[in-house]
């Protein structure tokens, strides 16, 4: 979910009376290594004011069922994503290299046996 759409309009109408705190926490992308020997896999995102809290929140949110042995958190803003228009140029050259399996997109929780 690191590839957010670029626009940030989306407010439906007038500003809210509850948008008072102003101090909105940054978004972090969370990657979990499910078991020793596997690579870290993107599992979702969360909000936290800083990296220390982000890491702890990630532990509580994404590994409640012992889904991981290691966690990375990355500020969402630090991720540069390719755009779908570039997809062919980016990825087609790798299409015949079947031994390289990308693991980034799929694999929601419980993707054991993969």
């Amino acid at each position: 979910m690191s590839e957010r759409t670029e626009r940030s309009e989306g407010r439906e109408g007038m500003p809210s009376q509850y948008g008072m705190s102003g101090a909105s926490s940054p978004l972090w992308e969370v990657f979990v290594r499910a078991r020793r020997g596997l690579s870290h896999t993107h599992v979702g995102s969360l909000h936290a004011p800083d990296a220390e809290l982000a890491l702890r929140n990630a532990r509580d949110l994404y590994t409640r069922r012992q889904e991981g042995v290691s966690i990375w958190v990355v500020p969402a803003g630090a991720i540069t994503a390719s755009s779908p228009d570039e997809k062919d140029a980016f990825f087609d050259p790798a299409a015949d290299k079947v031994y390289r399996h990308p693991t980034f997109y799929e694999v929601p929780e419980g993707a054991a046996h993969l």
């Binding site: 969360l46 909000h47 936290a48 809290l53 929140n57 509580d60 949110l61 409640r64």
Partner: protein, 239 residues
């Protein structure tokens, strides 16, 4: 005496879990709601192991639920610290911080004690407790060194709760772990975190106690009334 000691630390964990559970759906941020529930679950888990063992030591056939639901407040042995109301998030973090700074060395020491059952609980709970301490310390620092308002609130919370920590370390040489031996560790942890949080450690003066003897604050009876109401309304029922 192992029984009194086991009841005391089991009741600490149970009452702490009950208070933390009250935060559910009320935390300052949704992520924190989940964190508080995790800590409550850890405390509750430790309480169940300890109360089950206490029931066995007692030898009267009482299980964890008999002990949790069918004792009155004069029979509870928890410290006063855990039964204090949650207050605002700062008070809750002060309570959790002091509790974890006590439980963490306690469980570590317990893990090496001669009683195998208690040692097993200690070995399991000390990891959890280290996490609780980390979590609470992290918030004490953020609130202490955050905004002017949060600093004021956090200092007030520390001042308010501090008197209740002394009871935790009353000497008990006969216990599997003598609580007085944990004080130095506790003081070192507290000083380091409060310093970093730009908070002042309160002077020690008034030092209420009595929890270990079943003499509690007025709050515990209400807490138990709520916790026990349903169980007591259906004597002998299974759930």
């Amino acid at each position: 005496m192992s029984l009194d000691f086991t009841l005391a630390i089991g009741d600490d964990a149970l009452v702490a879990a009950q208070r933390l559970g009250e935060w559910t759906s009320r935390a300052p941020e949704m992520e924190e709601d989940i964190a508080l529930a995790n800590i409550a679950l850890d405390q509750l888990g430790a309480a169940r192991l300890l109360l089950t063992y206490a029931g066995e030591l007692e030898g009267a056939g009482r299980d964890e639920d008999d002990l949790a639901y069918l004792r009155g407040d004069r029979e509870f042995r928890n410290c006063l610290l855990v039964e204090l109301p949650n207050g605002d998030f700062g008070v809750t973090m002060a309570k959790l911080f002091f509790l974890a700074a006590y439980q963490s060395p306690l469980y570590t020491a317990l893990a090496g004690c001669a009683d195998e059952r208690l040692a097993a609980v200690g070995a399991k709970a000390r990891k959890e407790s280290a996490y609780h301490l980390d979590h609470a310390a992290l918030w004490v620092k953020r609130l202490g060194d955050g905004t002017e308002e949060s600093h004021r609130r956090m200092q007030d919370a520390v001042d308010e709760v501090w008197p209740y920590v002394h009871e935790l370390f009353a000497p008990d040489p006969a216990a599997p772990v003598d609580p007085s031996t944990l004080r130095a560790d506790f003081d070192a942890t507290v000083s380091a975190v409060l310093d970093e949080a730009t908070l002042t450690r309160p002077e020690t003066g008034w030092a209420p106690g009595g929890g270990r003897d079943g003499l509690h604050t007025e709050h515990l009876s209400y807490l138990l009334a709520e916790m026990q109401v349903l169980h007591r309304a259906h004597p002998g029922a299974s759930w």
